[in-house]
């Protein structure tokens, strides 16, 4: 059999590995400065436990262990971390600021050019609600992508609270039923405007609610987009999340980050556990989102420990593709790290004797003590370097 890897899994050779390390160590340093502590979760989780927090939108790898327990390889880090925090930490530990760099695994159909293993670099801020916590996570996300060396990326943000509020009101007083509500949510999640418009044609639902649902998808821009949204849903008695979104935006503006950000109410398409702010980052030359995040205030309660939480993560491999597309591939990035693969001072063992080896080890150690990379080499009795 040929020595292949499974589809969607790949080896990381030294040049790429060094570039990965360089990016992640710079982001780690940034997150450390913000007071985020490292954390790790196991590779395998119990499926039934994770599903307590809601259905998973990605397809995890599943397996049975010898106890006949149904396990999954973690398809993301947010749910396992919520489980960990709920199970292991007590209320007095809050607020928690946690950071991670972890591989995640997702089943994908074949012939779709999709990796089934990738690396998420992310943070979770647990125990604090409110716009300043939201702004911290977004600002951190922007600074982390900056630290990676990305230029010209955009973070699109909005709040899912306004759509939920609007649909609740449509059910309560606009003649809509539960199945209509579910279908509109599903259409937003699928980014299917045509379907949203078709549902907004449903004559059973009050016309003002239908108009608001139809128009919400297209609301985007700077701060004025929040006003447009308020004008759209305010007269219907809705507007949950908009004050918080505006306060978050104001903070981002004051921090000088609003030019990297945009309000866009079409971004309500990621996981269904989000309860407020949601955002996604896009870069030119990258066809899909670099990463995403949001507020998920009900997830920890599902694991038996009620606490508000927000977080974000980017996919390391997607960011590296975007860096490559903008011409900032790994070579220059590794220059600052001191040593490329195989470079440094060579310390040679001339003769195959214990004394010569000891001498070489000692000489190399002396060089390393001064901060110079020293690599041991061996020569044959004829003087050829091995």
């Amino acid at each position: 059999m040929l020595p292949i890897t499974p589809r969607g899994f790949k080896d990381v050779l030294p040049q790429e590995a060094r570039w990965r390390e360089d990016i992640t160590s710079r982001v780690r340093a940034l997150l450390d400065l913000w007071g985020y502590a490292p954390i790790e979760t196991p590779t395998l989780e119990v499926l039934e436990v994770l599903e307590q927090a809601g259905s998973m939108s990605s397809m995890p790898f599943r397996l049975f262990d010898t106890d006949n327990q149904l396990l999954v390889l973690r398809p993301d880090v947010t749910l396992p971390l919520a489980r960990l925090v709920a199970a292991r930490l007590s209320p007095e530990d809050l607020p928690l600021r946690l950071r991670y760099v972890q591989r995640v695994f997702r089943e994908e159909e074949s012939l779709r050019a999709q990796a089934r293993e990738f690396t998420q670099v992310g943070v979770e801020l647990i125990g604090i609600a409110g716009p300043w916590a939201d702004a911290e996570v977004v600002q951190l996300f922007i600074e982390a992508l900056d630290t990676c060396g990305l230029r010209g990326f955009t973070v699109s943000l909005c709040t899912v609270a306004v759509l939920n509020d609007l649909l609740d009101a449509a059910v309560a007083k606009g003649g809509a039923d539960e199945s209509w509500r579910r279908e509109v949510l599903a259409a937003f999640h699928a980014s299917n405007l045509v379907r949203v418009e078709r549902l907004a044609d449903d004559p059973r639902v009050n016309e003002r609610f239908r108009l608001a649902v139809r128009k919400l998808f297209a609301v985007n821009g700077g701060r004025e987009a929040i006003e447009s949204c308020r004008a759209l849903v305010g007269p219907l008695g809705c507007g949950d999340g908009l004050d918080a979104l505006e306060a978050t935006w104001q903070l981002l503006e004051a921090l000088g980050s609003s030019e990297r950000a945009r309000i866009d109410f079409s971004v309500m398409c990621s996981f269904d556990y989000y309860t407020g702010l949601v955002f996604e980052a896009y870069a030119p030359g990258s066809g899909s989102a670099l990463g995403s995040g949001g507020r998920y205030d009900r997830t920890l309660a599902a694991f038996g420990h009620d606490a508000p939480a927000a977080g974000c993560a980017f996919c390391l491999e997607t960011v590296m593709h975007a860096l490559d597309a903008q011409g900032s591939a790994g070579a220059d990035a590794s220059a600052g790290a001191g040593a490329g693969a195989g470079t440094g001072t060579a310390v040679s063992m001339a003769e195959p004797t214990a004394a010569a080896a000891l001498e070489a080890f000692a000489a190399a150690a002396a060089l390393r003590a001064t901060g110079t990379t020293a690599q041991l080499t061996h020569t044959t009795p004829k003087g050829e370097v091995l």
Partner: protein, 211 residues
Amino acid sequence: MRPLKVAVPKGALFEESVARLAAAGLDVAGLADPGRQLTVSAEGVEYFIVRPTDAPIFVSYGGVDCGICGRDSLEEAALELVELVDLGFGSCRFVVAEPASACGVAEDSYRRLGVLRVATKYPRIASLYYDSIGVQVEIVKMHGNIELAPLCGMADRIVDITATGATLRENNLVIVDEVLSSTARFVGNSASVRTDPRVRELANCLAASAV
């Protein structure tokens, strides 16, 4: 600023797609007779002439910013993208058909054997449909002339696309159920929709001329 990349479907949807893009204000002169050319450059825009079933792939993976294709191709591809406008043209239906002479045979065989064999070019659409009505089927993916499969007894039924029903009639096949109806859609790459205002502007112009 780089040109906006637009996927234009060749085949049945081509002519009307070009007309709609023209009505939306794009320079489509180069698309009038592209010959064997697969890309056409015009003022501020670059067209990529693609197979309709491949349009969702070009859009989803960011090869182009946006494009036009039928709903059928979107359903079959099931890729992440933003479906922006129902352009209303190119309407066709997905139907289940069987030989006129074999009326009732498929039901009998389903009762005896507990499974139907269905030939189709659209395995995802066919299996979603049969899952939704709870009928157990074996789906065999084919690439063309699938009307032959029930005629030679290789399959009980077909799930296929039809605009007028003429091909089905000519081959003595009758429609036994409707699966879904399709029209042309304007779709955008999820990053382009959110970072390049030209995609939404084009969507708005196309929506205005679609009514």
